[in-house]
Structures are given as structure tokens and as C-alpha cells.
């Protein structure tokens, strides 16, 4: 069974600090997604990582993918309150399964 594990599941941090969210998965995949979800809202696509070593950055967020280690990271630089949300990673496992498998999400609170 495919497993996608995020760590931590809950994070409270102060503005201006740096932190990293980790996403481990249990099977080979060359396609990993990061989404943001605000309370009561839908999922907003942040990054699509398509190959080993891929790194993408948007503002204070940077995502990377290591397919050999089956690990993706989402790094937050100099956090601001507006980044408070729940962040999900998700992968395609292939093998006939056409849907994304999501992690449980990391609930991030950034305090002024």
C-alpha cells in the first residue's frame, strides 16, 4: 500500500524564522505535488516536481525532490503570517492507479 507521510503534522512558528516540511513516500514516483489549503477553502497548487533533483521556488517557498530517497521538502524562508495554512504533498504512484495519494497535511501557524 502506498504511503505518503508528512512531518511535522502541526507546526507553530514565529515570523521571520525558517523551517522545512518533509514528505516521505513509500514507492517510486517521478511526480510530486505540493498544495496549500486555507480553512474552508479548496486546494491551491504550489509546485509540481517532475524529476529527481528538481527544485522550484516561489517567493518564500522552495520545494525539492529526491526520488532516490523518496523524499520531498518544502522550505519556508523568513516566514510571514500570510503563509499560515495547511500544506499537502501528493504523488502519483502509477501502476494503474490514476489518482493522487495525499499526505495528511502539515498545519502551519505563523505567529507575528
Amino acid at each position: 500500500e502506498l504511503k505518503v507521510e508528512q512531518n511535522p503534522l502541526f507546526l507553530s512558528m514565529q515570523e521571520g524564522k525558517n523551517y522545512t516540511i518533509y514528505c516521505n513516500y513509500s514507492t517510486t514516483s517521478d511526480r510530486l505535488y505540493w498544495y496549500r489549503q486555507d480553512p474552508g477553502k479548496s486546494l491551491e497548487s504550489l509546485f509540481v516536481l517532475l524529476s529527481n533533483g528538481a527544485v522550484k521556488q516561489e517567493g518564500r517557498l522552495m520545494a525539492s525532490l529526491d526520488t532516490k530517497a523518496r523524499l520531498s521538502t518544502l522550505h519556508i524562508t523568513a516566514a510571514v503570517h500570510d503563509l499560515s495554512a495547511t500544506y499537502f504533498c501528493a504523488i502519483y504512484s502509477g501502476g494503474g492507479a490514476d489518482g493522487l495519494t495525499f499526505g495528511k497535511g502539515t498545519h502551519l501557524i505563523i505567529q507575528p
Binding site: 479548496s42 486546494l43 497548487s45 509540481v48 492507479a97 490514476d98 489518482g99 495525499f102 497535511g105
Partner: protein, 114 residues
């Protein structure tokens, strides 16, 4: 429309009733997905359509759940004999094609079964 549209946004029903949830994908997107998200969890895959056909329905929990997409655009998720455990947010997403990168999600339909 500009984005994925889902109706109703909220639905409260009684145990045993029948429910339909509608999804209108982004125009031109051939791939359509239904997911279910329970409180505090990540979305769980239910079913995927490529055009009019259900290419993968392996995520449907049981035969009370059924989905159609008769003209390859709008899709309806149908739940028969609803149970309290069906309460969740049902999310629809579309993409230009399967695996074509980004999936665009709708706002979801929040189903509450009393």
C-alpha cells in the same frame, strides 16, 4: 468558467437519503477527478474520468457511490442510502489530460449526513 465549479457548496441530509453532487470542470479539460476529504485528513481519491468514461473507480468505497460524466464535461457524484460516515467534503479536480501536471481543484461540496 474560469475555474472548477461545484454545487451545492453545502448539503445536509438525513441518513438513508440519496444525494447528488455536481462538478463543472475547467473548459477543455478532459481529465476529471473526485476526491473526498474528511476533517483533518488529506484528500482521498475516489474516481477518475478521461472523457466520458470512468478510467479508474478504484477509490469508490462501496457500491452506494457512483459517478457519471455523460458528455465528457460536467460530472455528477451520486451517493445512495447515505450514512453518517459519508459526511466529508467532496472535491472535484480537473486537468488538461491525465498526468498533465497541475490539477485544479474546486471549492468542494460539504456533505453532512445527520
Amino acid at each position: 468558467g474560469a475555474g472548477v465549479s461545484q454545487t451545492p457548496s453545502n448539503k445536509v441530509t438525513e441518513k438513508g437519503k440519496y444525494v447528488e453532487l455536481r462538478c463543472d470542470p475547467i473548459s477543455g479539460h478532459t481529465a476529471l477527478y473526485w476526491y473526498r476529504q474528511s476533517l483533518g485528513q488529506g484528500p482521498e481519491f475516489l474516481i477518475y474520468f478521461q472523457g466520458t468514461g470512468a478510467a479508474d473507480d478504484s477509490g469508490l468505497p462501496n457500491d452506494r457511490f457512483f459517478a457519471v460524466r455523460p458528455e465528457g464535461s460536467v460530472s455528477t457524484l451520486k451517493i445512495q442510502r447515505t450514512e453518517r460516515g459519508d459526511s466529508a467534503v467532496y472535491l472535484c479536480a480537473s486537468s488538461q489530460d491525465w498526468g498533465a501536471g497541475e490539477l485544479f481543484f474546486g471549492e468542494g461540496s460539504r456533505l453532512t449526513v445527520l
